[in-house]
């Protein structure tokens, strides 16, 4: 305790200058180089030295994908009712409140309408910072609504996944959201409206076992962790070390499970290219 106090006291005497510069530099977790924070931000949050794709939040994602960073959100006001009154070491209700105040969101997804290279699109962008991007009844409903909007308005759909899977604190209710969204996607498929699934770091569990793998095209950012079972569960089951690069985007591409791995700065043009291919031909 005293040790900690003394240390923070030292920080104070060392002057503000030191503290301020600290926030301006970032040490890349991948190449371990110290990089000017602004350089990373200007590079779409990708390390300019090693191309490490840092995780970005749902709003930044929407701003990067949509023209002029402009978009209009919809169905942003749904809130979980904590149907199981779930309590573990903490109450789920207080986890929700904490996540809401941390992210400024009501749950782990943002539904948005905007334009991608001039083309109207609907985007559901998941927020990993909200309880691990986990999917409960609210995320299920919001994504299902986005799918239905896309089908009704014949506007292409993009779902950006960033999720640890189903939300345990909503039990089987969360599992049933997989069926709900997959059923809605069957209808979107019948309406012949394009759906691009963009998998980002990380996309695991129930999300991988449903909408993330059901795009007309399933594409991923480089180096993203993507899998059904989490690496730890697999390690415990088979009791051996996992191979290098296992469950990363490039691994999935190699095994034929992804249509493309696309660097962040090329995402917009790749999706635009795909939507042009999928645009309904005039009668």
């Amino acid at each position: 305790m005293t040790w900690f106090k003394r240390q923070s006291g030292e920080l104070d005497t060392s002057g503000e200058k030191n503290v301020r510069t600290e926030g301006l530099w970032i040490k890349c977790e991948s190449c371990r180089q110290i990089i000017w924070k602004k350089d990373i931000e200007e590079n779409l949050n990708v390390c300019p030295k090693c191309d490490k794709h840092f995780r970005i939040d749902a709003r930044t994602r929407l701003a990067q994908l949509l023209d002029d960073g402009q978009y209009e959100t919809f169905d942003a006001n749904l809130v979980s009712t904590d149907p199981l009154k779930f309590v573990d070491l903490k109450a789920y209700s207080s986890r929700l409140k904490q996540a809401q105040s941390d992210t400024g969101l009501k749950d782990a997804v943002i539904n948005a309408k905007g334009k991608l290279n001039g083309r109207p699109v609907i985007v559901s962008s998941m927020e990993y910072a909200f309880i691990g991007g986990s999917m409960g009844a609210v995320v299920g409903e919001e994504i299902a609504r986005a799918v239905e909007h896309a089908a009704a308005q014949k506007v292409p759909l993009i779902i950006v996944s960033a999720s640890g899977g189903a939300r345990m604190m909503e039990g089987v209710i969360s599992l049933m959201q997989l069926a709900k969204i997959s059923a809605a996607l069957a209808r979107l498929d019948e309406a012949k409206v394009p759906y691009i699934s963009l998998l980002t770091d990380p996309t695991t569990g129930g999300v991988t076992a449903s909408f993330a793998m059901l795009g007309d095209l399933n594409i991923a950012e480089p180096g993203a962790l993507i899998g059904f079972a989490g690496p730890r569960v697999i390690e415990q089951t088979i009791r051996q070390k996992l191979p290098q690069g296992f469950q990363r985007s490039e691994f999935l591409l190699e095994h034929g499970m992804l249509d493309a791995v696309v660097p962040r700065k090329e995402l917009k043009s790749y999706i635009d290219r795909a939507l042009s291919f999928m645009a309904q031909k005039a009668a």
């Binding site: 309590v87 604190m169 039990g171 089987v172 069926a179 997959s182 059904f228």
Partner: protein, 371 residues
């Protein structure tokens, strides 16, 4: 019990003995000791003696809970944790009471659902269906023995049966991969369901798996994609579909054959998003809290019916399906006949529309808040 407490008392700073003040951590610690003592009981003559001691400790703990509750101005977290202590005391009391008529706890149901003598899919096929002819393989990689698919006659009517198959002896367990399918199992299931749809034969799925297999090759071959594809295709399969959870409904690996017009659960089966042990080790950071996790996740047939996630509950013979396979099969037979008769009244178009609506409106637990 005393031994546990004494051993604990020597730990410096032990929250259970921090003077007269009752703290949440202290009560929690005491209760853990009682739980641990009870769960390691060895079934000899000491059990009675132990349960007496445990009862006395529980009384003490209940008094502490009353005092904890009396503290004013608690946040919902603390209140939730006190409720949970109370719930744990209730669970222990139930176990100590040894009253055969008390309702089974979620964990006890989980144990019944996993009972090694419980009838498995093929035990039901043998008793309820005739002329069963298996269809093997996914036409792409190999035949998955954890998933059994085949043509069968149900009271004379042609149907497709699909289901995960567990096994009892070691050799068979390995052959069946402990009832945990790989992607090719789910792809075989879908392939055969499409044959059934083409020839207008109803599909009956028997759900009994701890989950889809979590392995390196399963991931390489797209376990997620295989399950996802089944969810999508089953939602629009143009034929009556029934799924019955006969044992363990383990998460996505179970749901992948359970997007059906009628979803039934046997009385002592469970259906959950993760195993109670898995949930306990993640949320409580302690796998031994499995009983609490089982309760909290609401995994029993009664829970799911109440939450509107399944259509009906199939009774089991007294003591559970493992005590009498014939009787269990009769219950399943009756339930399937009933469901199939209901479904055949509807034109297939309406059936598919109703199925969509059912899953679309399922589990809508949210409220709309002002911006």
């Amino acid at each position: 019990m005393t031994a546990f407490l004494q051993r604990g008392a020597q730990v410096p700073g032990n929250p259970g003995f921090s003077g007269a003040a009752v703290t949440l951590a202290g009560t929690d610690w005491l209760l853990s000791m009682v739980e641990m003592g009870w769960s390691t009981r060895n079934g000899d003559g000491k059990a009675m003696e132990m349960s007496d001691k445990a009862r006395k400790e529980l009384e003490k703990i209940e008094q502490q809970i009353v005092r904890l509750r009396a503290v004013p101005g608690q946040d919902p977290d603390t209140r939730g944790q006190i409720d949970q202590l109370n719930q744990r005391v209730g669970l222990l009391r139930d176990q100590l009471s040894q009253n055969p008529n008390r309702p089974k706890s979620a964990w006890e149901k989980a144990e019944l659902a996993r009972h090694p003598q419980r009838p498995y899919m093929l035990d039901y096929i043998e008793r309820i269906f005739t002329d069963f002819s298996e269809i093997h393989g996914d036409r792409s990689f190999r035949d998955d023995h954890a998933m059994v698919c085949g043509m069968a006659r149900f009271h004379g009517e042609e149907v497709l049966v699909v289901g995960q198959q567990k096994a009892r002896d070691t050799k068979q367990k390995v052959y069946r991969n402990f009832g945990m399918p790989n992607p090719e199992g789910y792809r075989k299931a879908l392939r055969t369901m499409k044959i059934a749809a083409k020839f207008q034969r109803p599909v009956i799925c028997f759900v009994d798996t701890d989950g889809a297999y979590p392995g390196i090759d399963a991931e390489e071959r797209g376990q997620g994609e295989a399950i996802a594809r089944n969810l999508l295709e089953m939602s629009r399969l143009e034929v009556p579909t029934i799924a019955i959870v006969i044992g363990v409904g383990g998460s996505g690996g179970a749901l992948a054959i359970a997007v059906a017009d009628r979803v039934l659960m046997m009385e002592n089966s469970i259906y959950s998003v993760i195993s109670p042990e898995g949930c306990a080790s993640i949320m409580w950071r302690d796998a031994s809290k499995k009983e609490l996790a089982a309760e909290a996740m609401r995994i029993t047939a009664g829970d799911l019916k109440e939450l509107g996630l399944i259509d009906s509950i199939v009774p089991e013979p007294e003591g559970g399906a493992h005590t009498n396979h014939e009787a269990a099969a009769t219950f399943v037979d009756n339930a399937l006949q009933q469901s199939l008769a209901d479904l055949k009244k509807l034109p297939v178009k309406n059936l598919v529309a109703a199925r969509y609506d059912k899953f679309r409106n399922m589990g809508q637990f949210f409220r709309v808040e002002a911006q």
